[in-house]
């Protein structure tokens, strides 16, 4: 983290653009003669500020884009009155949330009621810090980055329960119970899929996991973890679990409006509700960022000749695609019931994710080539097809015979 001389032109190249605020702050403070510790602290604050600025504006933009894309899927135009194509709609929403009266129920625990929204936003922002966004830009390059991510992510579930309990009324309590049971059940397959990646890459450090996915097979197929047999299954499972972790449709039972008012967020209004909203979307960014890092090769380019494009553009492009797929899924699928949800997690996702572990091991020890594919694919496909057939037969409704109508 040494300060560079002002004549260093590469400081302003596109690849280094995300680092610019941090380097500028460090340079300015060093030239002013500040102490070493102050310079590094200020540098870290600048890096954190960059992450926050990028993701908070992405959150605002996403709230508008989500509404417009959902609208297009429903044959209507989204918000288009607030500015050119509705671009000022997040501003209008922000003003609305900030000027609303902050109502706390009489039976609520005031301190916990205040604490819960803060505790939801905090882990999401912390988790955003360990993800490698570019070749040169991991705000917090920890050796145990993945472990830190999951540890911090568990705080979200606790915060949801605090929100439900502290509201002091029935709907939030029920919603919070459902929310934590859902999040805990889907956390297991999430971590087991991540375990496969850790096994193959041999490290918990996220920047190094991305570097392990460099290179190309056959000249043009990238060596991402998604394009391996176990990675395909693990990546798909990770994708489904991340939808469930972020409480999004079709797994948004805790906050579905027609089911339980707003679940754990019922008794929150104004800025606290905005913080819940923000925590949910930032958590979505964090977990999709992690999925991209683990399975989609992070900031690696998809084709050999495209290295001139800065790496963080690849990362954010992949993030945009993943988020678009989340929106598409939200527009398409109905909500699952709580029993269907739990059955799916425990009876389908966990066995399949457990299968990816020996599959990853076998793939690695048979040389990671064509032979590995031939051996690993049946190991994964056969149990899936058998399980699916059992589920289809057991859970599909029987054909009805109408005795009197025919």
């Amino acid at each position: 983290m040494l300060p560079l001389a002002a004549s260093d032109a590469s400081l302003f190249s596109p690849e280094f653009l995300p680092r610019l605020p941090q380097r500028l702050v460090e340079m300015i403070l060093t030239n002013l003669g500040a102490a070493e510790s102050l310079v590094s602290i200020a540098g870290f604050l600048a890096a954190a500020g960059t992450v926050l600025a990028v993701f908070l504006s992405a959150f605002a933009l996403l709230s508008l884009i989500e509404r417009k894309i959902l609208a297009r899927a429903q044959n209507r135009i989204g918000p288009n009155r607030a500015g050119w194509f509705g671009i000022l709609q997040p501003v209008a929403d922000g003003i609305k949330m900030l000027t609303k009266e902050d109502i706390v129920p009489a039976k609520a625990e005031r301190l916990l009621h205040l604490l819960a929204p803060i505790l939801i936003v905090l882990p999401s922002i912390l988790a955003l810090g360990v993800i490698p966004y570019g070749r040169e830009w991991t705000p917090l390059p920890l050796e145990l980055g993945l472990l830190f991510f999951f540890a911090v992510g568990s705080m979200t579930e606790l915060a949801i329960f605090i929100a439900g309990w502290a509201s002091g009324s029935k709907f939030p309590m029920l919603g919070a119970m459902r929310a934590i049971s859902q999040m805990v059940s889907y956390e297991l397959p999430l971590m087991i899929c991540a375990l496969g990646v850790i096994m193959v890459s041999g490290t918990l450090s996220l920047p190094r996991i991305v570097e392990c996915q460099g290179g190309f097979h056959l000249g043009f197929i990238p060596a991402w973890n998604l394009f391996t047999p176990w990675g395909l299954v693990a990546g798909l499972l990770f994708y489904i679990c991340s939808i469930a972790e972020a409480n999004r449709c079709p797994f948004d039972l805790p906050e579905g409006e027609s089911e339980i008012v707003a679940g754990h967020m019922t008794e929150y209004s104004g800025f606290k509700y905005a913080l819940f909203f923000m925590g949910e979307y930032l958590g979505l960014f964090a977990i999709s960022g992690l999925g991209i890092t683990l399975f989609l090769g992070g900031w690696q380019a998809p084709l050999p000749g495209l290295d001139f494009v800065p790496s963080w553009i690849w990362f954010f492009g992949k993030l945009a695609l993943v988020i678009f797929s989340f929106l598409w899924i939200r527009a398409t699928y109905p909500r699952v019931r709580i029993d269907q949800l739990m059955r799916f997690a425990w009876l389908c996702m966990i066995p399949m994710s457990l299968l990816t572990l020996p599959a990853a091991a076998i793939w690695h020890f048979t040389g990671r080539g064509a032979l590995s594919w031939v051996v690993t694919v049946p190991l994964l496909a056969v149990p899936w097809i058998i399980t699916a057939m059992i589920f289809n037969r057991r859970l599909s409704p029987a054909t009805r015979h109408y005795h009197f109508a025919e």
Binding site: A73, N75, I77, W328, I385
Partner: protein, 201 residues
């Protein structure tokens, strides 16, 4: 064989078609952006009544203030005052014709019973006002609209009315012409008979 999970992809294809098609296909984007655009109203839509005039709003008004609509109106929202000259003779047009829109229930009975094709149901719905009492009391100036407006609003009904009125006029003209011809023929015959008599005498 249908693999498990194929239905999910078919669902995604349906919404995907909607998403892409909404940009260039009219049937996948049915939003009418009010107030810049208006949805077309159907020919049978009726709102509040209006009075028809042919040509001039003062002299071409078809209404003769017979007050049948005033009598037949169920909530009695019409108020008519006949215009009389100095001698008290009726001039067959209304001096005052008020409809209270806050009372009118858009039933259309006034249009059904009018014998002079003069009151019909309008299709205007943007009538909001902030004056609860006077703003919804429509007088003769706001109720009179031209026959061309009627034609544009309800082409079928208006053309049927115009055709019927034209046929009636032609029949009347033909009857008047026949009467005139008959009178002229009678006068001719009388003159011929008188000449003969005069010639003989």
């Amino acid at each position: 064989m249908k693999l498990p999970g194929m239905g999910l992809l078919e669902g995604l294809a349906v919404t995907g078609r909607n998403m892409i098609g909404s940009f260039y296909k009219k049937e996948r984007m049915t939003t009418v952006q009010y107030p810049e655009e208006r949805a077309p109203i159907s020919p049978n839509f009726r709102n509040f009544p209006f009075l028809v005039y042919d040509g001039d709003p003062k002299t071409g008004l078809r209404c003769t203030a017979c007050a049948i609509c005033e009598k037949e109106c169920p909530p009695q929202c019409i108020y008519i005052v006949l215009e009389r000259d100095e001698n008290g003779k009726s001039l067959k047009r209304p001096k005052v014709f008020d409809i209270d829109l806050s009372v009118c229930m858009n039933c259309g009975i006034c249009a059904e019973v009018c014998p002079f094709d003069s009151i019909y149901m309008d299709g205007e719905y943007e009538l909001s006002t902030d004056d609860r009492f006077g703003g919804l009391l429509f007088g003769l100036d706001r109720l009179s609209k031209s026959a061309e407006y009627h034609m544009k609003l309800r082409p079928e009904q208006a053309s049927a009315v115009m055709a019927r009125r034209k046929a009636d006029e032609e029949k009347k003209a033909a009857a008047a012409a026949a009467k005139l011809a008959k009178a002229r023929a009678d006068a001719e015959a009388k003159k011929a008979a008188g000449q003969e008599k005069g010639g003989e005498a």
